[in-house]
């Protein structure tokens, strides 16, 4: 939707930025359609698609039947038929029924048809915990999709990055899973350009430069890392990297940083085992072995089912755990 006075004055939230990107891209490209549960008249349960149906009509912002595999599968067909579909899966916990269509079909079509048939679509999915939501509304399954050849996976955490990465994702010739950290949806505002811009998929961002230790994170955890960095002793110079794109990984930015600092802490909400932290650790030991001064540490969710919300803050990495891990890593 066009910007409100509030946005002009105080900046845009993540929700505002994604909505603006969708709005602008639908204006620019007739092939773009949004589809999903409650995305039309209701504007989505998080209001991310608010006002789009009113502007672009019920043919392009479509309230579908309540069936995730159906949403993903028909979106694949729309893409094959020349459209640029943006299916929304209402919460990451509902990806299960759509998993087959996404991983066995969308991800594989270019390869199995040797380029004859492609699936340019952007799957929008609210992700992560911290909003006191019911069961299966708070998970972080990004590594599952990063482990699926043929999919790109992004998870921006700022309004600026969200707009630029979403526009890049929609214009990408391959399927992109666009995770939106719901804890950040309305918790942070910033002024971002109103005009069209893209951020290349596959580029991490150095949030703050430093020389003593590298902290790598993505999604809502980036804000926890920032809080942790604030509390570090003054003489510690920490470099914070927001991965932004989960796959393909921006290895160069990580490698350059860790070769400089020799120490690294990786922070994510997803369970530790086989989380993206494991892959990043492997990349670091492959490329930074002689530079390392300490073992790479991971501050992550546990290898448990995500607890109901009374205990979710005990599960999610917080500034204290991150800070502690940084101090420990520096002590080597």
């Amino acid at each position: 939707m066009p910007r409100t006075e509030m946005m002009k004055e105080k900046g845009l939230t993540l929700v505002d930025a994604i909505n603006e990107a969708l709005y602008q891209e639908m204006e620019r490209d007739d092939r773009v359609v949004c589809l999903g549960e409650d995305v039309g008249l209701n504007g989505g349960v998080f209001r991310v698609t608010d006002g789009l149906q009113k502007r672009f009509g019920a043919d392009r912002v479509v309230d579908t039947p309540l069936a995730e595999s159906g949403i993903m599968g028909t979106a694949i067909g729309l893409a094959m038929g020349g459209m640029r579909p943006i299916p929304e899966i209402q919460f990451e916990g509902f990806m299960g029924p759509a998993y087959d269509q996404l991983t066995n079909h969308a991800a594989r079509y270019r390869t199995r048809s040797r380029g004859a048939i492609t699936v340019p679509m952007t799957v929008r999915v609210p992700v992560g915990g911290g909003i006191h939501a019911p069961e299966l509304h708070s998970d972080s399954p990004e590594s599952i999709y990063a482990h699926t050849p043929g999919l790109k996976v992004v998870m921006p955490c700022t309004p600026y990055d969200a707009k630029g990465l979403l526009l890049a994702a929609i214009r990408d010739p391959d399927p992109v899973v666009f995770f939106e950290p719901k804890r950040v949806y309305r918790s942070y505002r910033e002024q971002i350009p109103e005009e069209d811009y893209t951020i290349p998929i596959g580029q991490a961002k150095v949030v703050s430069e430093g020389t003593d230790i590298t902290v790598v994170s993505w999604g809502a955890s980036v804000f926890e890392c920032l809080a942790a960095l604030d509390k570090l002793p003054e003489d510690v110079s920490a470099e914070l990297i927001d991965l932004r794109t989960i796959y393909p990984i921006d290895q160069d930015t990580i490698i350059q940083s860790v070769q400089k600092t020799g120490r690294c802490v990786i922070v994510h909400e997803a369970p530790k085992t086989c989380g993206m932290g494991a892959e990043l650790s492997a990349i670091i030991q492959e490329h930074c072995f002689l530079h390392l001064k300490a073992p790479v540490q991971r501050v992550a969710g546990f290898d448990t089912v995500m607890p109901y919300y009374k205990l979710e803050l005990e599960y999610l990495p917080n500034a204290e755990r991150i800070g502690e891990s940084i101090v420990q890593t520096l002590s080597y």
């Binding site: 599968g73 979106a75 067909g77 094959m80 004859a116 790109k152």
Partner: protein
Amino acid sequence: MPSRTVYSASVEYLQIMDEEGHVDAKLAKDTLSDEEILKLYQFMIDCRQLDEIAFKLQRSGRMGTYPQNKGQEAAAVGSGYAAKKGVDFLVPCYRENAALFLHGLPMHYILLHWMGDERGNQIPEGVNMTPLSIPIGTQMLHATGIAWAFKLKKEPRVTITYFGDGATSEGDFHEAMNFASTLQVPCVFFCQNNQWAISVPRDQQMNSATVAQKALAYDMPTIQVDGNDLLAVHKASKDAIERARQGGGPSFIEAVTYRLADHTTADDARRYRDTKEVDAWVGKDPMIRLRKYLERKNLWSDEKQKAAEEKAKIFVADVVKAAETIEKPLISDIFDYTFAEIPEELERQKRTMRTSSLGQDPTQAGLAAEPTAY
């Protein structure tokens, strides 16, 4: 409050040509001309020959697992011929090869597919279809989405999607039917009810009296046809396709047919089905009745049959040759079609695919940056 009927419906059955090749003249009006029937019968002889040779290729170790199409040619040809080549879009499973050939798929592509070569799926430009779909029932959603795109773009085009009786047990089938119906997209759901899903018979697959009635739940026009009757299949398909083209939404067709062969070459149907049942269906073979019909019209003879079979053998030999003489795929093909643009890490894996470690930085150990030949 009186009780009342809020919905009632019935399912029609259509047969135009019976097992003896006798045609219901009234129903046969507006179907295929004798000239077309002759042409399609000859085409079916080619397809049957390819199917038999494909079986032999597998048995002699020249091809991997193959699912025979034998006995279901009328269902594929009748429906495929009703769709407009170059305009409409086919979304198959894997037992309607003849429909794909009618729409321009080079025949050796099917062999390539089963020879473990993705180039069999590399549908040529201008040929409107998706490649064979191996998992059951997932492709119907793609067909629905493609039809939806046609509707959004206001193109007068139709998709036709193929699946078996077993696929109608899948959730994706029902989601596709519901989406297609709710969105009123131009999609024809064509079920080849061949009575068997590997070893599970139709009456164990569902408790429904017909497959066709499943469409009633989605308020979709539906019909059951004799799937071994070329004319009935063609008529039902043409009606459904033209209805879709005119904006009348999706339709459902249940073609009652029979899988005369095993599920695939890896299967042995004698383990689970009675040969008496198979024998009873052999006489219902769609090609037998077409031959009888044509012979009665003096359009066919033993000599013509022999000549057509000989011609098919020569033709199919060329198809096999095309599949067997193609150069081996490039090893780089493994990597090059994952994304439009190869990511850095994948490029590194491609470069180092022959080394023990993918991508570690050997300069750290004082080695050259690129691996040496081992």
